[in-house]
Symmetry: C2
Subunit: 337 residues, 2 copies
């Protein structure tokens, strides 16, 4: 008995912003589950900014997506067939096989998740998954955040930024400042997540708004955005400030190279350190991360919000919307229950 | 009996490139040498790129120069009068009182120098002084250079760059590449200092020339220049490359902000770390530096070249020439013998 399933394929490499026609919904029959393989029925799939980079044909730190193949990425699902004793049917697992309703995978490519209490499974794609680990590694390891620091994070209402700000407060930051792209997000940062200050970068020059929000300068900058945000952070930085450079969403859809900050000389004068990083290099921090973060999420010290879109067929629209800032917190696509 | 002496004062803040009329040669009488003070007769004074930054009226990491006061900076001289037992007459000392023939200074502001063998006193303003320590700290501490690295240094024929390249070879770099601003300097780097490759940045785009000189990429970049050199180094960097950002001579005379690298997003994808630094923060490394470098200079493993200009009155011209690349190795001004 074979199972019919659906996948989203990348069928064209976007120039500039991705369009729905760059993707296709494809029907297929699943293969049999062989020895050592797992059949997963997905509950939810993740759409993340980094995916834009993999849609170009250029190799950066990972291989690009192949055309006419499923979009790879984080997903969480339930084991429905197992050729490996350690994964009983009904177990919840995460994997990276991406935008599809089912996947048959080698057991080595799935990881069991111990879903606890009131925490929904989708949290393991966000606050307790790759985006949360990104925030943890960037803030603590790459920016070496210390008690008493003033911390600025851009893209603060997103999946990564929302964890950065809250974790900074939890770790004793003196002041946490966030930027986001709407008044609603700014209110969310202050009212829901406990940021000390936040601003809408569309309201005026980032440099001016950041200077106002951080009159005594910043010690840590967690960069999800690049561009004028990075220039403003260099301008507002105190001596010896540390930057974790995580993303560059301001230019992901750009078709021309974007100019860099005009104040790079201040990196010398202020003795700044700018540290680019990719979370997959820090998989060894997963254990520490989970030991700290699962209890903090369970008891509400770290809050999270999800923007949930229903139906695999809507994954491309969800992804395009997320790149344009249409999410608060983690954007996920529910594909099953 | 009072002593007549001469000093160079800064009398106007330059816009763009400094001009001779921004300086004035001033006669004065020296004060008496009080208890705890030292009278130094200078042998040589230093002209360095960082001085350009202090000529603007803006505070960066140090206070700007005051107008109508002597240009401060490194100098080496002989004690000719002493109000402190630990500094006998005839002792050789270094200090930071700058462009003058004599100085009367508190003993705490002079440091004895144990001039050895064939090493000239002026070396303590260059390869064994602040520029040498800058190279040492930047390469070893800030860029964490390791055996087997490919190292690129800009401004490679200057006081700092010429030490960076040789020290990298001494520490086991697999390949050392330098950029400089003339064919003569390029020949000097390869023939005299043992660089593996060098290019004249005026011959063509830095990105193209660096890619050709470093076909397998670079692991360390020591930046004295900024601008298109930094952009090229980001482009040529291998994953996890480390940059020590020391200076920004390409824009010291600029009157408009210079755009930054257009490929800053690669800092994330390649996991680069960019570390701005100022040598005065690393004074605690002076002992290690001297223990390693004095023997290496004495036995010729580290070579050095000086561009010597005679006469205090010619210090402004020497400084202006140095900013324009008119020196090979350390530019010093001899003011006594």
């Amino acid at each position: 008995m074979s199972i019919s399933t659906r996948e989203i394929h990348l069928v064209a490499r976007p120039e500039g912003a991705p369009r729905p026609e760059d993707f296709a919904l494809v029907d297929r029959e699943l293969p049999e589950v062989g020895t050592g393989e797992i059949l997963v029925r997905n509950l939810a799939i993740s759409v993340d900014p980094y995916m834009r980079g993999k849609m170009t044909g250029v190799r950066t730190y990972t291989d690009p997506y192949e055309l006419n193949s499923p979009m790879e990425g984080g997903a969480i699902g339930v084991v429905e067939g197992s050729g490996d004793e350690s994964f009983p049917e009904g177990a919840v697992v995460v994997h990276n096989a991406g935008w599809r309703e089912h996947a048959v995978l080698p057991a080595g490519q799935v990881r069991p998740v111990n879903v606890k209490g009131d925490i929904p499974a989708t949290a393991y794609l966000g606050v307790l998954g790759m985006p949360g680990l990104t925030a943890y590694v960037g803030l603590l390891d790459k920016a070496s955040m210390r008690r008493g620091d003033t911390v600025f994070v851009s893209g603060a209402a997103g999946a990564v930024g929302s964890v950065v700000g809250q974790l900074a407060k939890l770790k004793g930051a003196a002041r946490v400042i966030g930027s986001a792209g709407s008044a609603e997000k700014v209110a969310y940062l202050i009212d829901e997540l406990g940021f000390d200050a936040a601003f809408n970068y569309k309201d005026g020059p980032v440099m001016e708004q950041l200077t106002e929000a951080a009159p005594d300068g910043i010690d840590v900058y967690f960069d999800n955005v690049g561009g004028d945000h990075l220039e403003a952070a260099i301008g507002a930085a105190n001596d010896f400030a540390r930057f974790a450079l995580c993303g560059w969403i301001s230019s992901y859809n750009a078709t021309e190279p974007q100019p860099g900050p005009r104040n790079m000389g201040m990196i010398v004068a202020k003795r700044l350190s700018l540290n680019g990083f990719i979370v997959s290099d820090s998989a060894d921090r997963t254990g520490d991360f989970q030991r700290e973060m699962v209890p903090a999420v369970a008891d509400g010290r770290i809050r999270f919000t999800e923007t949930v879109v229903d139906g695999l067929e809507n994954a491309p629209e969800a992804f395009i919307s997320m790149l344009g800032g249409g999410n608060i917190g983690k954007m996920v696509v529910r594909v099953g229950t």
